[in-house]
């Protein structure tokens, strides 16, 4: 079941929470609404579910206009941020709730709940109460409860927000696997870009009530549409400089930027991700920037180096692959050279951060 959002506006008093949102979620896809707090991502999710109504615009499920329908009639599975499990009911009765209120025969309820308990790997915990479960287990009960009524789509509000790092990691890959088995159209809200990229087929980046970019994780990561997206998607080195004749001038230092061929100079901001900078002992080319290592932190498969360029008076973060780091035998205080492999330049006319 595809979701079609057309021209949705939402205001809370003076606050413009959503400003002309147009978005299509294709059938069977897993889509992440990604953005900082206050970007409107949760409001958008609640408007899709019917928990909140839009001031303007319409919501279509497939070709059916559901704008005026209540959450009860939209047949969506909504998973709340803090799960909202019925605390006085057992896990079994929590999952059975949707079928019970629809007066499903008991035999059907029994078999369906059993099936779902298996699906979310909670066999044998049916008689527990929510308070007796761990955070990850509660999350899975909430998911099973939402799936029990065979919803037309699954909507999850910060599904892993309240869990610790390890459980979160496990649940992410589990959700991805579950989605591959069930193929229910799923939308989830997150402020964690890593989470969005790891789980989703498609990422929608929101900012201040507007959509900044929609695309696959690769598209969004490799070709950020705006400086905001670039900045939001993780660590980035920022250079302020002047753009002229296919080159970016940063003081004495220059970077190639063939996309800009005009001869008249323009102020611009260049962004380079830490893994797109290379460290060498000797200058790799005339374009290399001299710097000194001021800090080294091992972070999993890479070594995170902080280097300082006296020429430009700035500090940079460089991710050095482990093998490369071993080869370089870096120490704090060493003199090195930095060369960018990939530069993204945004002209001030594009957007401001």
């Amino acid at each position: 079941m595809s979701i079609n959002i057309r021209g949705v506006h939402k205001r809370f008093g003076d606050f413009h929470a959503l400003n002309n949102i147009n978005l299509e979620v294709p059938t069977g896809k897993l889509v992440a609404l990604l953005g900082p707090s206050g970007s409107g991502k949760t409001t958008l999710l609640r408007i899709i579910s019917g928990l909140e109504t839009a001031d303007e615009g319409s919501i279509l499920f497939q070709d059916e206009d559901v704008t005026g329908r209540s959450v009860r009639d939209r047949e969506v599975g909504f998973v709340f941020q803090h799960y909202a499990l019925f605390r006085h009911m057992t896990v079994f009765e929590n999952i059975a709730f949707g079928m019970r209120v629809r007066k499903a025969p008991n035999s059907e309820v029994q078999s369906r709940v059993k099936e779902l308990l298996q699906l979310v790997r909670l066999e044998g915990l049916g008689q527990r109460y929510p308070a007796e479960l761990s955070g990850g287990q509660r999350q899975r009960v909430a998911l099973a409860r939402a799936l029990a009524v065979r919803p037309r789509m699954l909507l999850l509000d910060e599904p892993f927000g309240a869990l610790d790092a390890k459980v979160r990691q496990e649940l992410r890959s589990w959700l991805r696997k579950l989605h591959e088995e069930m193929h229910v159209t799923t939308v989830f809200v997150t402020h964690d870009q890593e989470e969005a990229f790891e789980v989703a087929d498609q990422v929608v980046v929101l900012r201040g009530g507007q959509i900044e970019q929609v695309g696959t994780p690769t598209e969004v990561f490799d070709h950020p549409a705006t400086p905001f997206v670039m900045d939001f998607l993780g660590n980035v080195n920022v250079f302020q400089g002047r753009l002229e004749n296919g080159e970016m001038h940063l003081g004495p230092f220059r970077m190639d930027y063939p996309e800009y061929t005009h001869s008249h100079a323009q102020q611009a901001t260049a962004y380079v991700r830490p893994h797109e900078l290379e460290l060498t002992r000797e200058p790799a080319s005339s374009r290399s920037l001299a710097a000194r290592v001021i800090q080294l932190n091992p972070a999993g498969s890479v070594l995170k180096a902080r280097v300082r360029s006296e020429d430009l008076g700035i500090e940079l973060t460089v991710d050095v692959v482990r093998e490369q780091a071993d080869l370089l035998r870096l120490r704090v205080g060493d003199d090195v050279f930095v060369s960018p492999r990939n530069v993204r330049v945004f002209l001030p006319s594009d957007f401001a951060i």
Binding site: R72, Y83, L85, H88, A162
Partner: protein, 293 residues
């Protein structure tokens, strides 16, 4: 083990580091005051009521038709007022905790008004509204409805005085619970009725019961407001507290104390019930702060 106990002991001493004599003086004072102000009068009531023997006590309570009527009146009007206030309290708590609307702070403040206004003043207001010289009194009289000097007046006065109890108990509880479970129920296909009976009510049941018990305790004992609106006609509009006062004024001490003892007994029963309910009333757990596995 030894060390552990010593540590705990010293921790206890740190909480109360006043000298022992001061501590015991304060504790003694507290017991002394409670004893003189609360326990002794209560014991005296029972002692006086039973001073003529159980037979006389029973005769005073049961064989005086006016007293019997007063007991009957109190035990019908008070529960009715409690029932109506429970329905009102549920509705008010629901509206206040689940919706935003202009004038909400005013409504919350007004809810507390009966605690602040003297019951006698409330009684007088009802007299002015529903009395024969009042605004609506003559109109109601033409329809054959008698409010003042009749049980509907007593009901109104009792409701006014006990109005805040249920709502006051439920508002913080429902605020702490939040709307998410209810929204989850609706999103799973429950209608509002199913949501209330299956999700809301089970979550608030102990708080509701405690509010009802408090409301009932207050309703049974109400004197001032009822005194004004009822006209305290013996055998007709006398409630138990009014009957106690009347018998006392008539120098019928055994009779007065007998009814007072029954009132006190009901109050003690309510108190015990309330304590039992209170045991179940824990702050609702916050799932997000639970330890994770």
């Amino acid at each position: 083990m030894h060390l552990d106990r010593r540590v705990r002991k010293s921790a206890g001493r740190m909480v109360a580091n006043e000298p022992a004599w001061l501590r015991w003086l304060l504790i003694g004072l507290a017991f002394f005051i409670v004893g003189w102000l609360i326990v002794l009068p209560l014991v005296y009531v029972f002692w006086q009521a039973l001073s003529g023997g159980l037979g006389l006590f029973w005769k005073n309570v049961w064989h005086d038709p006016d007293t019997r009527h007063a007991i009957w009146l109190t035990l019908t009007v008070a529960p009715l007022a409690v029932l109506l206030n429970t329905l009102f309290g549920l509705a008010a708590a629901w509206v206040i905790t689940r919706f935003d609307f202009p004038g909400k702070p005013l409504l919350v403040t007004l809810l507390d008004l009966p605690f602040a206004v003297s019951p006698v003043v409330a009684g007088l207001c009802f007299m002015l509204l529903f009395g024969m010289q009042g605004w609506w009194g003559p109109l109601l009289r033409t329809w054959g409805i008698k409010v003042v000097f009749a049980w509907p007046g007593i009901l109104l006065a009792t409701m006014f005085v006990t109005l805040p109890f249920v709502a006051r108990e439920l508002i913080p509880l429902m605020q702490a619970l939040g709307p998410d479970e209810e929204l989850a129920a609706i999103s799973l296909g429950a209608n509002p009725w199913q949501m209330f009976w299956r999700v809301t009510l089970p979550n608030i049941r102990w708080g509701l019961l405690f509010g009802v018990i408090q409301c009932h305790a207050r309703a049974i004992g109400e004197f001032g407001a009822v005194y004004v609106v009822s006209g305290h006609i013996a055998g007709e509009t006398d409630t138990m507290p009014l009957r106690v006062e009347k018998l006392f004024q008539e120098y019928n001490n055994p009779g007065s104390f007998a009814v007072a003892a029954v009132l006190a007994l009901i109050a003690l029963g309510t108190l015990v019930l309330g304590k039992l309910v209170l045991k179940h009333l824990e702050p609702p757990e916050q799932p997000e702060s639970e330890p994770l596995s």
